[in-house]
């Protein structure tokens, strides 16, 4: 299978590899996929609490070259966007940018899921700190 130049570039020079402090209230962490499936992506965002702009993003991926490239690209794209803008990112855009073949489309889907999971985690953390503690406990008990 021939890889596109962009996939090779992201693989050889991945952007934003690393970790943010998952305990920080400004950080949202998404962990998607499963080792049994051969694909696990961890994508983290650091959000400015005043503007909701994603100021930093980091990723780590266990997966093929296309999965690494998709998640690397995802961190590039979310940076500078607001959380709501980042939720608009579609996997099809990743497929187009990286020229992913049909058999690798699921890698882009996982990257989109990772973005959403990270944002979902950040939202959960930030809603909890805004609500009163008893309500949060009640919510946890219902879950």
């Amino acid at each position: 299978m021939a890889y596109s130049d962009k996939v090779l570039d992201h693989y050889t020079n991945p952007r934003n590899v690393g970790s943010l402090d998952k305990n920080s209230p400004e950080v949202g962490t998404g962990l998607v996929g499963a080792p049994e499936c051969g694909d696990v992506m961890k994508l983290q965002i650091k959000v400015n609490p005043a503007t909701n702009v994603i100021e930093d993003a980091k990723f780590k991926t266990f997966g093929c070259g296309s999965a690494i490239a998709s998640s690397s690209l995802a961190t590039e794209w979310v940076k500078g966007k607001t959380v709501d803008e980042a939720l608009q990112i579609k996997n099809t855009e990743i497929v187009k940018e990286l020229s992913l073949p049909p058999v690798k489309i699921h890698c882009s889907v996982l990257a989109e899921d990772a973005i959403r999971a990270a944002i979902g985690d950040w939202k959960k953390k930030n809603c909890q700190t805004q609500e009163a503690a008893p309500a949060a406990v009640g919510a946890a008990q219902q879950a």
């Binding site: 962990l31 696990v40 780590k60 991926t61 266990f62 997966g63």
Partner: protein, 420 residues
């Protein structure tokens, strides 16, 4: 380090790309090629042309090849039939026996890590009303002889178990399997493709009744193989799968691929001469590769028995790193992986699954198949590239990070289907 920078720093004697995928196919030996060429050229006759010299010359070359193959495996020349390769040989053996001995019984025994040429043939026979038992393998990749004993019944007509596995190089206990089969009056077929020319294989000593052979795994050409069919104690009969002229004692019709057959014969002659020495050289190279990699990386696991293994095979899982991304990082080395991402069907290796390792280690596996033309310099280079790439990918891996934090990955609830 970019690929270009690495290429400029190549050690002496190393040319890229390096081929270490000799279980997939092998480079034809120049001596084999030389032997074949005249039969594409002035000696182009059809071996079945009985009435003129063109035919006689071709027939003689075919008979010489038959003898060379027979000699390598301890058989009689009359017991060698030519086919288009091991897939056809496997089909002929299994379907040929099934059809011939159907009145006697309808039960066939095989095992989980067989090549698809055997497994898919068995699946087809199941559609025709045959019963097939697929024996599991133990963690080391070998069958349990007691499982085989228990599986045999009075309707069993065939056991088909490979001599050596193409992914993990593991050797099955074929001598004992054959002895058990003879005791019970059951025919024993073995796909000997990966074993021939690499480890001693003798149809008499190993109690084999039918054996599949191919040329392109032993430095011969693609498109030609053979089937050993025993004639005495017991006499094996097969129903031909290809009709049309009755060639090869009625077992396989079709004009013989004379140049290919000559190549197969020469490859076997070379193997007969050189196998002992080459086996030692392969084992030394393989162990050199293994020690270099495992000496510098932690959490690497060899898949399958180390003791009962082909001398040239190394199959390692690198925890926390996915196979295809590893192949990408060593893209100037030809090897293969059990990862789902490298397969057309996105299924991880069924052979590794059968070992019970778990899909995550199947995804992290690399198969190295060393061969006649690999050198120590190449092995050292490949070891370095593997170690560098695995280290780099572990830095990228969330699983490695979690493991280093002390998290037990088997206890994590993975969100494979995350909610939005």
């Amino acid at each position: 380090m970019s690929t270009n920078a690495i290429a400029e720093n190549l050690p002496a004697g190393v040319r890229l790309p390096i081929y270490m995928d000799n279980h997939a196919t092998t480079r034809p030996d120049p001596r084999v090629l030389e032997e074949m060429l005249p039969y594409f050229n002035e000696l182009f006759g059809n071996a079945a042309s009985r009435n003129h010299e063109f035919g006689w010359v071709a027939e003689q070359a075919v008979e010489q090849a038959r003898e060379r193959i027979a000699k390598l495996i301890g058989a009689n020349t009359k017991e060698i039939i030519f086919t288009s390769g091991a897939t056809e040989s496997d089909n002929l053996a299994i379907k040929g026996v099934a059809e011939m001995y159907r009145e006697k019984g309808n039960h066939i025994i095989t095992q989980a890590t067989e090549h698809k040429a055997v497994l898919d043939t068995c699946k087809r026979l199941e559609k025709y009303g045959f019963r097939v038992t697929y024996l599991p393998v133990q963690k080391d990749g070998r069958i349990d002889l007691d499982d085989l004993k228990r599986a045999m019944d009075d309707k069993t007509i065939l056991v088909t178990i490979m001599a050596a596995n193409n992914e993990i190089g593991v050797l099955q206990p074929i001598r004992e399997i054959g002895a058990l089969c003879h005791e019970r009056g059951v025919l024993f077929h073995t796909d000997a493709v990966q074993a021939i020319g690499k480890v001693p294989f003798n149809v008499m000593h190993d109690n084999v009744d039918i054996a599949s052979i191919t040329a392109h795994k032993i430095y011969g050409p693609k498109g030609v193989g053979a089937l050993y069919v025993r004639r005495k104690n017991p006499r094996v009969q097969l129903v031909a799968q290809i009709d049309g002229g009755g060639h090869e004692r009625g077992m396989r019709s079709g004009t013989l691929n004379v140049p290919g057959i000559v190549g197969l014969g020469k490859a076997c002659a070379i193997a007969h001469e050189e196998m002992a020495e080459e086996g030692k050289k392969m084992a030394a190279l393989r162990d050199r590769l293994k020690d270099a990699i495992m000496g510098q990386l932690d959490e690497c696991y060899i898949n399958g028995s180390v003791e009962h293994r082909l001398p040239n095979n190394l199959n390692i899982s690198f925890a926390y790193v996915e196979g295809e991304s590893l192949l990408m990082g060593i893209n100037d080395v030809a090897v293969s992986s059990g990862s789902a991402c490298t397969s057309a069907t996105l299924e991880p290796s069924y052979v590794l699954k059968a070992l019970g390792a778990g899909d995550d280690l199947a995804h992290s596996s690399i198969r190295f198949g060393l061969g006649r033309y690999n050198t120590e310099a190449e092995v050292d280079y490949v070891a370095r590239r593997v170690v560098d790439t695995v280290s780099r990918l572990r830095e990228l891996s969330p699983l490695y990070e979690m493991a280093k934090e002390g998290i037990d990955l088997t206890k994590v609830q993975w969100a494979a289907e995350p909610t939005h």
